[in-house]
C-alpha cells in the first residue's frame, strides 16, 4: 500500500497555504512533515484525510481497493474526548465508529489508562486525553496514521510509548505521516520540510 499526493494546492481563507506539495509514503515507512507554525502541516494532514478538498492535485491510495478515509486515523490537536462519557465508553465509541474490532481494555492498558477506565473523560489531563487518543490507534487498527503533533502534552514515558507503538505499526506494514516541530525519534523516517521548499 502506498499513500501518494501529487501537486497539492490548498488555500485557506483565501490565502494559499500549500503550493504544489507532492509526497509518497509506502508500507512500513514514516514521513515527518516539519515546518514553522502556519506552514500548513495540519492542513496537509487534513487534506490527506480527505477532510479538506485541495484546489488542485490529488491524494490517492495505491494498492488498496478501500476508500482512503476508511484506512486512515487522523490524530488532530483535538482529542475527541467527551467529558460526560467514561474513558472506556469514549474509546468504545471511537472504535465502533471507525469500524475497529480491537479490545478497548488492552488498548487502555497499553497507554497506561487501565486504572482510569471508569472515570469520566472530563477528569483527564491534557496528556491523558492524548494517551486516550493514542489508544484509538490500537483499538481500531487502520494502516495509515496521520498524526498531528502527536507528542503535544505527552510526558517522556508517553513519548517513548508513541515511539514503540509507531515502530510496531510500521513493522506490521502500516505507514505514518506525522506533522511535528520536534524530532519524534521514529527510526528511518523521511522528512518533508514545508518551510523551506523550492
Amino acid at each position: 500500500m502506498r499513500l501518494v499526493a501529487e501537486d497539492l494546492i490548498v488555500a485557506r481563507g483565501g490565502r494559499p497555504v500549500l503550493d504544489g506539495i507532492s509526497l509518497g509514503v509506502g508500507s512500513g515507512e514514516a514521513l515527518m512533515v516539519v515546518g514553522p507554525n502556519g506552514a500548513g502541516k495540519s492542513t496537509l494532514l487534513r487534506v490527506l484525510a480527505g477532510l479538506i478538498q485541495p484546489l488542485a492535485g490529488e491524494v490517492r491510495l495505491e494498492g488498496d481497493e478501500f476508500e482512503p478515509r476508511e484506512r486512515m486515523h487522523l490524530l488532530g490537536h483535538l482529542d475527541a474526548v467527551k467529558s460526560g462519557l467514561s474513558v472506556d465508553r469514549n474509546l468504545r465509541f471511537a472504535r465502533d465508529v471507525l469500524g475497529g474490532v480491537g479490545d478497548p481494555g488492552a488498548a487502555l492498558a497499553r497507554v497506561g489508562l487501565a486504572a482510569l477506565a471508569d472515570l469520566p473523560g472530563g477528569v483527564l489531563s491534557a496528556g491523558q486525553r492524548r494517551r486516550l487518543a493514542l489508544a484509538r490507534l490500537l483499538a481500531a487498527p487502520r494502516p495509515i496514521w496521520l498524526l498531528d503533533e502527536p507528542t503535544a502534552a505527552l510526558d517522556a514515558a508517553g513519548q517513548a510509548l508513541l515511539i514503540d507503538i509507531a515502530a510496531e505499526h510500521r513493522a506490521k506494514g502500516g505507514l505514518i505521516v506525522a506533522a511535528t516541530h520536534l524530532p519524534l525519534g521514529f527510526d528511518g523516517a523521511a522528512t518533508l520540510d514545508l518551510g523551506r521548499r523550492p
Binding site: L74, R92, R95, D96, V97, L98, V101
Partner: protein, 217 residues
Amino acid sequence: MRSAHAALFTRDLALARGGGAGLGVVFFLLVVTLTPFAVGPDLALLRRIGPAILWLGALLATLLGLDRLLQADHEDGSLDLIALAPAGLETMVATKILAHWVTTGLPLVIAAPLFGVMLDLSPDALGRVALALALGTPAMASLGAVGAALTVGLRRGGLLVPVLILPLAIPVLIFGVSASAEGAEAGGALTVLAGLALGYAVLGPFSAAAALRALRD
C-alpha cells in the same frame, strides 16, 4: 462490535441523558402555562387556540439545543472521527438527527396531550395534536440539522439557527395546526404534513452533510 451508526446513536442518547434532555419539555410546559395568564381564563378561547399554543410551544422547544447538535462534536474533534467512519456522512448525520429527535422531539409528542388538558382540549383534539406533532417534530429536527450544520463553525451560531430555520418551518406550522384542528380539512392537512416531514427527513441529512463538507476547516 457495533456498526458506526449504532455506536453514534447510543452515544448521543447517553450524552443527552447526562446533559439536560428534559429541558425542552420544561420549556414547553412553561409556554403552555404562561399562555392562560396572558390571554385570561377564558376556557372557550383557550379551547379554540389550544392546538396553536401547543404547536408554537413545541416548535420553540425543538429549537433548544439545536445549535449544539453538531457544534459540540465540531469543537471537540468528534466530527473528524465521524467523517472517517466507514459510513456515509449523510447517514451519520441522519443518525444524529434521529437521536436528537428521540431525546428532544419524542418527549414533546408525549407531553403535548398532558399539557393540552390545561388548555381544556377535548380528548379527540389531544390525540390529533399528538399525531400532528409526531409528524411535525421529526421535520423540525431535520430542518434544524441543516441550520446547525450551516452554523457549525460560528461562535455565536446559537442565535442564528432559529433565525435561519423558523421561516422554513412555516409550512410545518400551518399544516400542523390545521391537522390538529377539528373539521373536514384536518385529514388533508395531516397528509400534507406527512409529506413535508418525509421531504425534510430526506433532504435534511443530505443538505446538512453537504454544508458540513463545504464548511469543513
